[in-house]
Amino acid sequence: MRISALVTSITIIMIVFFLFREGVGIFKSPSVEKGYVIAVNKSNAVETLNSTQLKNIYDQEITNWKTLGGKSQEITVFRVEDITNYYSEEELGANMEYLPAKISEVLAKTPGMIAFFPSTYLVKNFKGKVLPLKNISVANFLGGTEWFPTAQPSAQFGAWPLILGTLYVSLIAILLALPLGLATAVYLAEIADKRTRNFLKPVIELLAGIPSVVYGFFGLVVIVPILKNTFHLDSGQSGLAGGILLAIMALPTIITVSEDALHNTPNAMREASLAMGASKWQTICRIVVPYSSSGITAAAILGIGRAMGETMAVLMVTGNAAVVPHSIFEPLRTIPATIAAELGEAPQGGLHYQALFTLGCILFIMTVSANLMAGYISKKKRLA
């Protein structure tokens, strides 16, 4: 017994350690992928650029250096493959051996140019000015509102929409599932006769056995169109769809756990209450539910846990647009869905990979604090 407890706790600690070791790495690197540099013409007055500015320059949202504090001059963006617009293949050499020198040359020739290229092409007497790159800060990562993990030259890691999305969906799910689940549990434990109970309980437990992809597909084909038609939305893929789906998925957990807790209330308590002249309804509200409140809290925590960590079903119905949601009818993107959709392609050890692990850390902190909070509340209740 002691051994298995030890093994379990060591495994958990190892997983958490691994998660955080991978996740913290992102704050030690700039948002431009390692091995690449950003350079401008020597005459340029701009000393440094942040990742949002870089993205806007390459998206041609910012087209003049004046907006960035430089002198009024058109911005010319340059990527390595653009070199063929400036020089012919012969000038670059058969094996591209003159490429580094030509990059330096074209940058020196064009005053308004900004260039993004691998640092291996940086020649010794480079005629441009390499801009120093700032590391990604914790505040930028948590507070940023744009999530473009594969954007070049500068990836955008703003986790704020993802954090909010996860919270929204879990909140909607638990608001829907808790009253419904609790009512069902009370009915099953206190009111239903034995035959109904014996029929309903396995049916509800069956819900827990359905794979989440099936739920997701059900959501996409059934819930999403219904929502779209009832509320006249542009698209039914929304936070609400995800919330409803997660509520359905969390129901079996909530019902089974809280029903067990209600069922475990000693009969002596019920009989005492009824003997005092309380009605059946009063007994349930005043005696049975308060007595099993810690079990019900546990049910709620397990429900929230399921909702926060659920991936596949949410991935299919929430639309996954990384925007800060303003209403429950808007699409949103959750942390688990982001990790599941992107980890496959993120090169191991790269910036994107580390960012996904950081998201994992955030999710971990969120679930742990939800658990702690629920534990605190139930403890306080018991003392009072």
Binding site: R2, I3, L6, V7, I10, M14, K55, Y58, D59, Q60, R79, V80, E81, N95, M96, L99, P118, T120, T145, E146, W147, F148, P149, T150, A151, P161, L220, V221, V224, P225, K228, D234, S235, G236, Q237, L315, M316, G319, N320, A321, A322, V323, P331, R333, A341, E342, G344, E345, A346, P347
Partner: protein, 292 residues
């Protein structure tokens, strides 16, 4: 009891050590695989777009040549090229041309390589069948996908909000559409991204204001493909196998195989098979456009 704990602890430490060294471990097994593969098997790695095609071709080829062993793995075009440079694969499959820096790395290592186009893939821009709009220019598509154009009435349709569907960032199709249609600009952040092409088809067929892009093989009755123009509205072309083949449809890309000259003898029979009439028939079956 105590002894048991000690044994367990040491086991855990060993396990942990193994985990942290999993990289080198993986390399070793890959190395072992490689020496085995060179005896007559072929390793193919790379683009997920080409993956279903390579699998099907390998399957049919394997039936005719019982002694051949072909292993196909996905991961993305970039992963295929990295494997080719590190000598971890015989063929790198790619849905894009080799990049300058990848080419340089191969040349630095003194490895000459060959490039073969095995098929073409065309992307269709799709809308809901109830949508009045039937054609768009590249500039309009760029505006829609970057979030500059938000209502169908701006491009000649009804007064209806545009709902943009895209693939996830991990998809090669996402990158291809961005580079080829959107002039390398980033997607708007309120674009809905779905994990699979099938989900895009389903969503566009349900949503009146929707627009999305899918491979030619996914075209169905309940979605409407748009005609597109890449010359500012002079010529509009509908997506079709024929149009992709004669290059009149602009959103098409070749699918490549890359391999080293030194491996040519082992690989040649398989590549020849793909380019044969039988192999090209499979290309059309899988939903891509044959080369000739």
């Amino acid at each position: 009891m105590k002894k048991g704990i000690k044994i367990l602890l040491s086991l855990l430490i060993v396990l942990n050590y193994g985990c942290s060294n999993s990289d080198s471990g993986k390399n070793k097994t890959e190395e072992a695989n490689r020496t085995e593969e060179t005896k007559g098997g072929i390793n193919i790695k790379g683009s997920d777009t080409v993956l279903p095609l390579s699998q099907k071709e390998a399957e049919v080829f394997g039936k005719a040549n019982a002694d051949s062993r072909i292993t196909v793995t996905g991961g993305g075009s970039g992963i295929g090229f990295t494997a080719l440079i590190d000598d971890n694969t015989d063929i790198a499959m790619a849905s894009r041309k080799i990049k300058v820096d990848e080419r340089l790395k191969l040349e630095q290592a003194g490895k000459a390589f060959k490039e073969v186009i095995i098929a073409h893939d065309a992307l269709a821009v799709i809308v809901n069948p109830a949508n009045k709009v039937s054609q768009l220019t590249r500039e309009q598509l760029e505006g829609i996908f970057t979030g500059k154009i938000v209502n169908w009435k701006e491009v000649g349709g009804d007064d209806l909000k545009i709902v943009v569907y895209s693939r996830e960032t991990s998809s090669g199709t996402y990158e291809f559409f961005k580079e080829h249609v959107m002039n390398k600009k980033n997607y708007a952040s309120n674009v809905l991204s779905l994990p699979a092409t099938g989900a895009i088809v389903e969503s566009v067929s349900q949503t009146k204001g929707a627009i999305g892009y899918v491979g030619l093989a996914y075209l169905e009755k309940n979605i409407k493909p748009l005609k597109v123009s890449f010359d500012a509205g002079k010529n509009f072309t509908a997506p079709s196998m024929e149009a992709a083949k004669d290059h009149s449809y602009p959103i098409a890309r070749p699918l490549y195989y890359y391999y080293l000259d030194t491996k040519e003898t082992t690989i040649k029979p398989f590549v020849d098979f793909i380019l044969s009439t039988e192999g090209q028939k499979i290309v059309a079956e899988v939903g891509y456009v044959p080369v000739n």
